[in-house]
């Protein structure tokens, strides 16, 4: 991994949880299994994907 996978997992998990809570709080989606468990899993996937691709930052050292 060229990026930061641990940061991606933790922040992706929390982003999924906060995202589910935000959608629920603003009346867009209740706390279903999809939102409460699915969103954090998707968040972890995105975080890991970002860590793997590492699209940001300088490519030269």
């Amino acid at each position: 991994m060229k990026g930061r996978p641990v940061l991606g997992i933790i922040s992706g998990l929390l982003f999924g949880l906060f995202g589910a809570l935000t959608l629920q709080q603003f009346g867009l989606m209740p706390l279903t299994t999809l939102s409460l468990i699915g969103f954090p899993i998707i968040g972890i996937g995105i975080g890991l994907g970002l860590a793997a691709a590492a699209p940001f930052g300088n490519k030269t050292t």
Binding site: G3, L14, F15, T32, L36, P55
Partner: protein, 185 residues
Amino acid sequence: MRPSRTTKLAIVLGVLVSVLILPATALAGIEGGCTGSVVIDGNTYGPNNDTVGDPIVVPIDKEGVVALWEAKVPFDNENNQGELGVVVGPFTIQIASWGDPNTANSQGNSGSYSIEDFKNEFPVPESLIPRGVYQLSGEHTAAGGECTGLVMVKLEGTGAVGIASVVGAGVTFITMLGAGLRRKS
């Protein structure tokens, strides 16, 4: 030509938005032949209020609101029992239950419930009561049959929990983008 950082960021945002904004699906309403309704703040609601787009709205910021409810079952209602719960992910948290020998076999009931009493159930100030939409699941069984149902309830208004969740989502999103920063080697 390699995509710019802005293009990469736009792709990441596009994926996130398309994943998070999912269409709401209709639920099952009430099955088993039971009927019921509730009047809140002049609006009448029933079993069809089972979607995010058409929920039972509870104006929690208003003072003195009373919910007037009535319910009927189409079967022998002796030895009845039931429960009501809030769906939270894969779990259902029970918030009410009832049971009655009902030897008179009454098949209907009605009453009123003060929203102020509901707010007093929370051990926090009113601004900290979580708003938003909740899926309520309930069942009622008796000697002659049973009913199950799902409705959607919306506690209207924006509270501190909603604001905190937006801040949390924003901070964790930016942190998550940090995972895509290339490490120096």
